[in-house]
C-alpha cells in the first residue's frame, strides 16, 4: 500500500514537468479536426447502383406482397342498413333504441373461394372515431388492472360514476360504448362455432386487465352505450372488452370478434344470425361483418405491393435515366 502510494506520486511527479516542458500539446487528430473519416460522394456509379439495388429489392417484395394479398379470401357484409325492418327505415334511431323490437337479423353469405382455417371474424365500423380526443382519453388504465384503484375514476368523464356517485368499473366512454352485436354462424344446418378466446393480446390479459377486477355498476346509468358485462367474470377474461379497449387508429376499423376454426369451401353458404344492437345510426356509421383468412403479410391489402412495385420500377427507371444521361452527356 505504502509502496503503491509512493510509486504513483513519483510517477505523477515525473509526468507533470514533462508536460510542462512541451509547451505545445501533442498533436491530436481530434483537436485539429483531422479524425479519419469516410467521404461519400455521389458519383454516377454510386447513384446508379443505389437505384438498381433498391429496384432489385423492391420489385420482388412488391410482387410477393401482391401475391400474398391476392391469396387472402375476404368476405365483407354490410348489415346495418338491411337489418332495419322495412317499416322503420325512416326512423333507424327509433328502431335501435326501442328495446321492444327484436333485433335479430339473418344474413346469408356465399363463400367465393376456399377458405382455410383459421378464418377470422371481424366486425368493421365506419365513421366511428375511436380516436377522437374526447373518447380516447376517457378511460383509466390504473383502475382496469388494479382492484385497489377501483375508486380511481379520474379521466373517465362523462362515465365516471353512476347517478348515485358510485364509481363505475370499468369507467369511461370507451368501456361504456362497448360493441354489443352478436353473430352466430351456421353452415347448412350445422352451427359453426366461433372461438372468442385468445382474440386479445396476451400482454393485455396478463398485465393490463386485472384478474381480480370485476365489473361494477356497469351500464347502470340512464343511458346505455353498449354491451353489459358479466359482473362475475374478471376483466382479464372479458376479451371483447379488451379488444374494444385497444382503441383503433382510424375512423374505419376492424375488431376481432372470433375465429372459425374449420375450413370453408367455395360456394358454401353461411347463415349469420346476428343481433343488431349497436347504435351506429345516430351518427350514420356503418357496420360490416368481415370473414377473412390471413397471409404472412396480414389481411387483404394491395397497397403495399403496388407501392413497392411503383418505387422499385421508378428506381429502375431512374437508374436507366442516369445511365443514359451519363453516357450521352458526360460532364
Amino acid at each position: 500500500m505504502n509502496n503503491n502510494g509512493a510509486g504513483s506520486s513519483s510517477g505523477s511527479g515525473d509526468a507533470s514537468p514533462a508536460r510542462r516542458n512541451s509547451k505545445r500539446p501533442k498533436y491530436s487528430r481530434f483537436t485539429q479536426q483531422e479524425l479519419p473519416a469516410c467521404k461519400p460522394i455521389l458519383t454516377p456509379q454510386w447513384v446508379i447502383s443505389v437505384f438498381t439495388l433498391v429496384g432489385i429489392i423492391f420489385v420482388p417484395i412488391g410482387v410477393a406482397a401482391l401475391l400474398a394479398s391476392n391469396d387472402v379470401v375476404e368476405i365483407i357484409d354490410r348489415y346495418d342498413a338491411v337489418c332495419v325492418p322495412q317499416n322503420m327505415t325512416n326512423d333507424k334511431v327509433g328502431y335501435i333504441q326501442n328495446d321492444a323490437i327484436d333485433k335479430t337479423c339473418t344474413r346469408r353469405i356465399k363463400v367465393p373461394k376456399d377458405m382455410n382455417q383459421p378464418i377470422y371474424v371481424y366486425y368493421q365500423l365506419d365513421n366511428f372515431y375511436q380516436n377522437h380526443r374526447r373518447y380516447v382519453k376517457s378511460r383509466n388504465d390504473g383502475q382496469l388492472r388494479d382492484r385497489s384503484k377501483e375508486n380511481d375514476t379520474s379521466g373517465c368523464d362523462p362515465e365516471k360514476t353512476t347517478s348515485n356517485g358510485v364509481p363505475i368499473v370499468p369507467c369511461g366512454l370507451i368501456a361504456w360504448s362497448l360493441f354489443n352485436d352478436t353473430y352466430n354462424f351456421t353452415r347448412g344446418n350445422k352451427a359453426l362455432t366461433v372461438n372468442t378466446t385468445d382474440i386479445s393480446w396476451k400482454s393485455d390479459r396478463d398485465h393490463k386487465f386485472g384478474d381480480d377486477v370485476f365489473p361494477k355498476n356497469f351500464q347502470n346509468g340512464n343511458l346505455t352505450g353498449g354491451k353489459k358485462l358479466d359482473p362475475n367474470k374478471p376483466l382479464s377474461q372479458q376479451e371483447d372488452l379488451i379488444v374494444w379497449m385497444r382503441t383503433a387508429a382510424l375512423p374505419t376499423f376492424r375488431k376481432l370478434y372470433g375465429r372459425i376454426e374449420v375450413d370453408l369451401k367455395e360456394n358454401d353458404t353461411i347463415t349469420v344470425t346476428l343481433k343488431n344492437y349497436y347504435n351506429t345510426y345516430s351518427f350514420s356509421g356503418k357496420k360490416k361483418l368481415v370473414l377473412s383468412t390471413t397471409s404472412w403479410l396480414g389481411g387483404k391489402n394491395n397497397f403495399l405491393g403496388i407501392a413497392y412495385l411503383t418505387v422499385g420500377g421508378l428506381c429502375f427507371f431512374l437508374a436507366t435515366t442516369f445511365t443514359v444521361v451519363y453516357l450521352v452527356k458526360p460532364r
Partner: protein, 1201 residues
C-alpha cells in the same frame, strides 16, 4: 511631413487623443467613443460614472483631471493607517472580490430571468402554461413542461459550471496574503479579502498588488517603483510609478529603519471609476497639500518589479478597484445567420398559424355539420349523465370549441418552432470555438486564438470586407532603427548591409553588438542594431570638427531624450549581463538601442539623473526637466545638465511639429537635405523622427526652471501650464538630424492578403501613418501592385473633395467601360480589368464622412479593388466601416491591435484584436483575438467556412426535423374528426426534439467539414459560398419545407394505407410513425454528412437505437394505454415493410435532386470535394470543371457595384 503615428508618446497605445489632427480636425460630435466621453466620466465622477467608456483614453484625462479640484461631496476621504475612520460614515467594500454572477440562493431566479430574455422561451412557457388549463390540456402536466425544462436546465448547468469556476478562482484570489500594517505597527500577513481602505500595505518585489494603492514610500530613495501591468492592459514592459517626495522626505529622516513611511494623513481622491489611466487626488500631509496623479498609484492586477519593497495605502478595494470596474464581458453581437434564422422562424410561425387555422376551421365545420348528433355519438357526448343532474361534459358550444381547438392545436404543433435549436446552437458554437482555440495553425508562440464572442462564429464565413489597421497588425510593431541623417548627411548604409546570421555573433564582436566592460563583467544591450560604419568612424574619430560634435549630440539625444528604464538582466553566462531597455514606446526603445550600438549606452536611470556610457566613458547627466510627449505638441523634450556643466535641451518629435520650432536661418542646406532624407525614408516605409537641440545659457535656464517649478507644483491647470512652459523653451532649435525606424511586416502578410483577395474579400487598410509610408507598406504587403491605377485624394476643402471624387468616379467608370469592351472583344472574363486603388487621407475624410459626399466616396470605393486610408483618426476608422456597413448587406470585419482601433472593431460586424505589442484594449473590445495577421486566412477561409456551412445546415435541418414531425401529427389530426389526438405517445412527442434527434445535429454541427483545410487554403475562391449565402437562403428554406411536406406525407400515408381496414390500434401505428420519423430524419442527416468519422457514426446510429429503446420502454409501462404495442407491431412483417418503404420513398426525391445537382450542376465546393477525393485521378476533369466556379466568381465580383 509629419509621421502619422505619434512616435514619441511614452506609449503608443492610446493615440486616442487624436492622431496628428490635421489642421482643423473637427471631432465628429456624435458617436464619440473614446476621448470625449472619457472626459465626461472623470468630470462627473459621482456615484454613477455616466456610461463610462470601456476604453478610456489616458492622456486626455491626465490633462483634465489635474486642472480641477474635487469637490468634497464627490471625494473619498482616506485616512492613512486609519481604516476605521476611512470606513465611516459609509462602509466601503472590503477587498474580497466576487466575479460570480450568482449565489446559491439567487442562481435559480436570476438564471431563469436571464434565460427568459429569449423570446422563444417565453413562447414555450406560455404554451406550457396554457396546457395546464383543463380545457386546453393536450399533453400531460409533466410532459408539457419537460422540453422547456430540459433546454433551460442544459443552459443552467452550463452557466452554473462557469460560475463555479469563477467562484473557485475568486476564492483563490481572496485567500492570497500580503503584509498589512497592524495596530501594533507591525506588518503581518493578511488575507487579501480582509484588506480595508486606509490600511498600509507593504509589497515586496514580484508581489501581486492586492488593491488600488497610493504609493507612499519605496526602497528607492527617490520613491520610484516599477510595476508590470501585463494583467491589466497587456503591456509587458515596466512602468514607473512614484511616491511623492513629501511622503518620502518627511519621514525618512525621522525613522531610523530603512522603511520609512507616513502613518497619518488624509487622502482626498475621486470616487472609484473605471478609468485606468486617470487618477485625481490630493493629500494633506504634515500640513501641506500635495497633488496626486495617475503616476502615484499602483493598481490591482499589476506586479511590483525591480523594487525591493514599496508601501502604499489602500484607496480602492475589492469591486471598486479599477481592474474590477473594467472587467466586462465581450460585446454581444448577433450573427447574420441568426438574423436570417429569425426571419424564417417568423415564416414558420405563419405556417404554424396556417396549420392551426386549417384544423380549427375543419373542426368548426365538423362540429357544425354534426351539431345535432353530438350527444348520440359514443365518441363525443355533449352531456354527462353520471351525476344526479345531467350536466355538460366539457362542451361550451361550437364557438368556444373552435377557440379551444385553435389554442390546443398551437400547443400540439408548438415544436414547429424548434425549441432545441437555440440550445443546440449554443452548444455547437461552444464546440466550434473549442476547435478554433485548439487549432495549432492559429497559435503564435504561446498565444492561442481567443474566442471572446460566442455567437458570431458563422459570420466568419461570410466576410466581404476586411478593414485592417497597419502598425502592429500588418507589421510587427517591433521597431528597428535603420537609418539616420545627421546634419544633412545620410547614414543609411545599414539598409544595404546584408542580413547577418545570428551565429556571426562571436566573430564579429563589437561591430553589431556594442558591449561595455565593468568590473570584469560584460554589459551588452539586448537587441543588436545594424549600424552604419561611416557614422561610427565619425563618432570615434578624434577630430573636433563641428560635424563630429553634432553627431555626438545627435546620438546623445537619442540616448537621453526618452523615458526608457534600463534594466540589467542576468544571463546564463555569469560574465555577461544584458541591458534591457524597458519603455512604453517601441520607437523609443529602438532609438535607445541604436544609441547604444553607436556607443552611447544608457546604463542607469533614477528620477534625478541618468548614467550614459559615452564611448566607454561613464558620464552622469542630471535630468533637470522633462516635458512629456503630448499629442498637441507632438514632440517631447528633456533638459540635461551635462558633466561639462552645460545645460542642453534635447527635443525629438514628428517632422511636422519639429520644423516649426527649428531655427531655419542657421543652416538652410541642412534643413533641406534633412527634409529630402525624411521624404526618402518615409517612402521606403520607415517611421521618421527629427531631433533638435539647444544649449541653454544660465539666464534662459533659470527662467525656465522657475517657470517649470511653478507649473509643476501648481494645483490647478498643471498640465496646461507645463505645456506652455514646454512650448516656450522648445524654440530656436538647432537641427541635429533625423532617424528612420523600420516597422517590419509580419510573417506571411503578403500571402495572407493575396489569399483574402482571391477569396473575394476586399482588404482596406486604415492607418494613422502618413501617405508615403502607407503606400510603401501597401506595396510591400502586395496590397498595391504596379499594375494598379492609383486614385489619390488629398483635399483641403469640401469642394475639392467633391471634385476629386467625381473625377475619380468618372475615371473608374471609364476604365471599367474600357475593360468591359476589352472583355467583349477578347471574351476573357475580368482579366483585362485595370485594378484601381483608392488612396485617401484623413483630411479629406473630414470633409467627406457624415456629409452628402459619403455616397460619392462609397461609389468610388466600391469599384476600387484596394482602398488605403492614411492619417485617419480612430473615429474616422469607425466612420469608414460604417460607410460600408450602412450601405450594403456585406459583412465587414475589422482587425487591429491598438486602442485607436477599438471604435472600428466595435463598429464592424466582426471585430478581431491582435494581441501584440500594444495593449489589450483592442483585444478587450474584439470578438476574436489572435496573435498574427496571417491567422486571418485560416480563421476565415477554413474555420469561417466550416462554421458557416455547419451552422447553415444545422438551422435548416432543425427546421426540417421539427416540421416533418409536426406535419406527421397534422395529417393524423385530419383523421380524428379534427380533435387533435396524437397517435404518437405524448412522451415521444416531447422527447422527439430534445433526445431522439438532438445529438447528431450537434455533433455534425461541430465536426462535419465539407472540405479539408488544405483544399480550402489552396483555393481561397471556395470562400465565396458564404459570401453568396449559398448554404442558407430563403429558396433553400422553401425547398426544404416542400421536401418536409413530402416526407411527412410518406411517413403518414404509407402506414395509413397499408393498415387501412385492419385491426391496428392507435398506439401501434403511433409507434410505427415515431420510429419512422426518427429513422428518417437521422438518415436524412446522414445523407448530407460530408465526413463520416466514428463520432458521426456513433451519434446517428446511437440516436436511432436510443429512440427504439425509448419507444420500447414507454411501451413497457402497463398503465399507459400503449402497453406492449411495439412488440405486437414488430411481430408483423407489415411493420418492417412499411418502415423500409417509408424511408426509401421519403428520401427518394431529395436523393434524386442531390445526385442530379452534384453531378450536372456541381457547386464549386462539390468540384473541390471530388478533386480532394480522387485527386490526380481525374485532375483534367476537375480542371475543366473549375472553370465553372471561376466564372461565377467573376460574375459575382462584377455584380457588387
Amino acid at each position: 511631413m509629419a509621421s502619422g503615428r505619434p512616435l514619441l508618446i511614452p506609449s503608443p497605445k492610446t493615440p486616442t487623443s487624436p492622431e496628428p489632427p490635421p489642421p482643423p480636425l473637427p471631432r465628429i460630435p456624435s458617436k464619440s467613443q473614446n476621448t470625449s466621453i472619457s472626459k465626461h466620466s472623470s468630470s462627473s465622477s459621482s456615484h454613477h460614472p455616466p456610461p463610462p467608456p470601456r476604453f478610456p483614453s489616458r492622456r486626455s484625462d491626465s490633462i483634465t483631471t489635474s486642472q480641477r479640484d474635487i469637490p468634497d461631496s464627490e471625494a473619498r476621504f482616506v485616512y492613512i493607517n486609519d481604516p476605521t475612520r476611512s470606513n465611516s460614515p459609509t462602509r466601503l467594500p472590503t477587498n474580497s472580490i466576487s466575479t460570480t454572477k450568482y449565489s446559491l440562493l439567487t442562481f435559480l431566479p436570476r438564471n431563469l430571468f436571464e434565460q427568459f430574455h429569449r423570446l422563444a422561451y417565453i413562447y414555450f412557457l406560455v404554451l406550457a402554461a396554457m396546457n395546464q388549463v383543463p380545457q386546453l390540456g393536450v399533453f400531460g402536466r409533466e410532459t408539457s413542461i419537460l422540453p422547456l425544462a430540459f433546454v433551460l436546465s442544459v443552459t443552467a448547468i452550463k452557466d452554473a459550471y462557469e460560475d463555479f469556476r469563477r467562484h473557485r478562482s475568486d476564492k483563490f484570489e481572496n485567500h492570497r496574503t500580503c503584509s498589512v500594517l497592524s495596530s501594533d505597527s507591525q506588518f503581518l500577513p493578511t488575507r487579501w479579502k480582509d484588506i480595508r481602505v486606509g490600511q498600509l500595505i507593504k509589497l515586496h518585489s514580484n508581489d501581486a498588488i492586492p488593491c488600488d494603492m497610493l504609493l507612499l514610500s519605496t526602497s528607492d530613495p527617490t520613491g520610484v517603483a516599477y510595476i508590470q501591468t501585463v494583467n491589466l492592459d497587456g503591456e509587458s514592459n515596466l512602468k514607473t510609478r512614484y511616491a511623492k517626495q513629501e511622503t518620502l522626505k518627511t519621514h525618512s529622516s525621522s525613522s531610523s529603519s530603512t522603511t520609512a513611511f507616513p502613518t497619518s494623513g488624509l487622502v482626498r481622491c475621486e470616487k472609484p471609476n473605471r478609468n485606468i489611466y486617470g487618477f485625481h487626488a490630493n493629500m494633506d500631509i504634515d500640513g501641506k497639500r500635495v497633488s496626486l496623479g495617475p503616476s502615484n498609484i499602483v493598481l490591482r492586477g499589476c506586479e511590483l518589479k525591480n523594487t525591493s519593497w514599496a508601501i502604499g495605502v489602500a484607496i480602492y478595494t475589492g469591486r471598486e478597484t479599477k481592474v474590477m470596474l473594467n472587467s466586462s464581458g465581450a460585446p454581444s453581437k448577433r450573427s447574420r445567420l441568426e438574423a436570417h434564422m429569425n426571419r424564417e422562424t417568423i415564416l414558420l410561425a405563419v405556417l404554424l398559424f396556417l396549420v392551426c387555422s386549417i384544423v380549427t376551421i375543419l373542426a368548426g365545420v365538423w362540429l357544425h355539420v354534426h351539431r345535432a348528433e353530438l350527444d348520440y355519438m359514443p365518441f363525443y357526448r355533449k352531456r354527462d349523465y353520471s351525476g344526479k343532474e345531467v350536466g355538460k361534459y366539457n362542451y361550451y358550444g361550437i364557438g368556444w370549441e373552435v377557440v379551444f381547438t385553435f389554442l390546443k392545436s398551437v400547443i400540439l404543433f408548438q415544436v414547429m418552432i424548434p425549441i432545441a435549436l437555440y440550445v443546440s446552437m449554443e452548444l455547437v458554437r461552444l464546440g466550434q470555438a473549442f476547435f478554433m482555440i485548439q487549432d495549432d495553425s492559429m497559435r503564435h508562440e504561446k498565444k492561442r486564438f481567443q474566442c471572446r464572442a460566442l455567437n458570431i462564429n458563422e459570420d466568419l464565413g461570410m466576410i466581404k470586407y476586411v478593414f485592417s489597421d497597419k502598425t502592429g497588425t500588418l507589421t510587427e510593431n517591433k521597431m528597428e532603427f535603420r537609418c539616420a541623417s545627421v546634419l544633412g548627411t545620410d547614414y543609411s548604409n545599414t539598409l544595404t548591409t546584408q542580413e547577418e546570421d545570428d551565429d556571426d555573433d562571436d566573430d564579429e564582436e563589437n561591430n553589431n553588438a556594442y558591449t561595455l566592460t565593468e568590473d570584469g563583467q560584460i554589459l551588452k544591450p539586448r537587441m543588436r542594431v545594424k549600424i552604419d560604419e561611416e557614422l561610427v568612424q565619425l563618432l570615434r574619430s578624434g577630430n573636433k570638427s563641428e560635424k563630429k560634435k553634432r553627431a555626438c549630440d545627435f546620438v546623445l539625444g537619442l540616448a537621453a531624450c526618452n523615458t526608457i528604464v534600463p534594466l540589467v538582466v542576468e544571463t546564463e553566462d555569469p560574465r555577461v549581463k544584458l541591458i534591457d531597455y524597458q519603455g512604453e514606446s517601441p520607437d523609443e526603445q529602438a532609438l535607445a538601442y541604436a544609441a547604444a550600438a553607436y556607443g552611447f549606452v544608457l546604463v542607469e536611470r533614477t528620477s534625478g539623473h541618468i548614467v550614459i556610457d559615452v564611448l566607454g566613458q561613464r558620464q552622469r547627466f542630471d535630468v533637470l526637466g522633462l516635458h512629456e510627449f503630448d499629442s498637441d505638441r507632438k514632440r517631447m523634450s528633456v533638459i540635461i545638465g551635462c558633466p561639462d556643466k552645460t545645460v542642453k535641451l534635447f527635443v525629438k518629435g514628428a517632422d511636422s511639429s519639429m520644423f516649426g520650432v527649428i531655427d531655419k536661418s542657421r543652416n538652410m542646406d541642412v534643413v533641406r537635405a534633412t527634409e529630402s532624407h525624411l521624404h526618402s525614408y518615409s517612402s521606403i516605409g520607415l517611421r521618421t523622427l527629427v531631433v533638435g537641440m539647444r544649449e541653454l545659457n544660465s539666464s534662459e535656464f533659470e527662467e525656465w526652471q522657475s517657470a517649470y517649478e511653478k507649473a509643476s507644483t501648481a494645483l490647478f491647470g498643471r498640465a496646461s501650464l507645463l505645456r506652455t512652459v514646454a512650448a516656450n523653451i522648445e524654440t530656436n532649435l538647432q537641427l541635429l538630424g533625423a532617424s528612420g525606424i523600420e516597422d517590419k511586416l509580419q510573417d506571411g502578410v503578403p500571402e495572407a492578403i493575396e489569399s483574402l483577395r482571391q477569396a473575394g474579400i476586399k482588404v482596406w487598410v486604415l492607418t494613422g501613418d502618413k501617405q508615403e509610408t502607407a503606400i510603401s507598406i501597401g506595396y510591400s504587403c502586395k496590397l498595391l501592385t504596379s499594375g494598379m491605377t492609383q486614385i489619390i485624394i488629398n483635399s483641403h476643402s469640401k469642394e475639392s473633395c467633391r471634385k476629386s471624387l467625381l473625377d475619380a468616379f468618372t475615371m473608374s467608370t471609364k476604365l471599367s467601360a474600357m475593360a468591359s469592351n476589352a472583355q467583349n472583344s477578347v471574351g476573357d472574363a475580368g482579366s483585362n480589368k485595370v485594378p484601381l486603388a483608392l488612396i485617401i487621407d484623413g483630411t479629406s475624410l473630414v470633409y467627406i464622412l457624415e456629409t452628402e459626399l459619403e455616397e460619392e466616396l462609397f461609389k468610388v470605393a466600391t469599384v476600387c479593388d484596394v482602398v488605403l486610408c492614411c492619417r485617419v483618426a480612430p473615429l474616422q476608422k469607425a466612420g469608414i466601416v460604417a460607410l460600408i456597413k450602412n450601405r450594403t448587406d456585406d459583412m465587414t470585419l475589422a482587425i487591429g491591435d491598438g486602442a485607436n482601433d477599438v471604435s472600428m472593431i466595435q463598429m464592424a460586424d466582426v471585430g478581431i484584436g491582435i494581441s501584440g505589442q500594444e495593449g489589450r484594449q483592442a483585444v478587450m473590445a474584439s470578438d476574436f483575438a489572435m496573435g498574427q495577421f496571417r491567422f486571418l486566412v485560416p480563421l476565415l477561409l477554413v474555420h469561417g467556412h466550416w462554421n458557416y456551412q455547419r451552422m447553415a445546415y444545422m438551422i435548416l435541418y432543425n427546421f426540417y426535423r421539427n416540421a416533418v414531425f409536426v406535419f406527421t401529427l397534422f395529417w393524423y389530426v385530419l383523421y380524428t374528426a379534427f380533435s387533435l389526438t396524437t397517435a404518437v405517445t405524448e412522451w415521444s412527442s416531447v422527447l422527439y426534439s430534445v433526445i431522439y434527434t438532438a445529438l447528431p445535429t450537434i455533433i455534425i454541427g461541430i465536426l462535419d467539414k465539407d472540405l479539408s483545410r488544405k483544399t480550402l487554403m489552396k483555393y481561397p475562391q471556395l470562400y465565396g459560398a458564404g459570401q453568396r449565402e449559398e448554404r442558407y437562403n430563403l429558396l433553400m428554406f422553401i425547398f426544404t419545407m416542400l421536401d418536409t411536406i413530402w416526407q411527412s406525407a410518406a411517413i403518414f400515408f404509407i402506414p395509413l394505407l397499408a393498415y387501412r381496414h385492419s385491426t391496428v390500434d392507435i398506439s401501434g401505428i403511433g409507434d410505427l410513425w415515431t420510429l419512422a420519423v426518427v429513422i428518417l430524419v437521422n438518415l436524412h442527416l446522414g445523407m448530407d454528412v460530408f465526413r463520416w468519422n466514428w463520432l458521426t457514426h456513433v451519434s446517428i446510429w446511437g440516436c436511432i437505437v436510443a429512440t427504439a429503446i425509448c419507444v420500447i420502454i414507454i411501451d413497457c409501462i402497463p398503465i399507459l394505454s400503449g402497453y406492449w404495442a411495439i412488440f405486437e407491431m414488430m411481430k408483423q412483417g407489415l411493420f418492417w415493410f412499411c418502415l423500409l418503404g417509408i424511408i426509401i420513398a421519403a428520401l427518394m426525391p431529395r436523393f434524386v435532386i442531390k445526385a442530379f445537382m452534384e453531378y450536372f450542376k456541381p457547386s464549386d465546393i462539390q468540384v473541390a470535394r471530388e478533386m480532394e477525393k480522387y485527386g490526380s485521378l481525374n485532375e483534367a476533369a476537375a480542371n475543366t470543371a473549375r472553370e465553372i466556379p471561376m466564372t461565377s466568381f467573376a460574375n459575382a465580383n462584377q455584380r457588387i457595384p
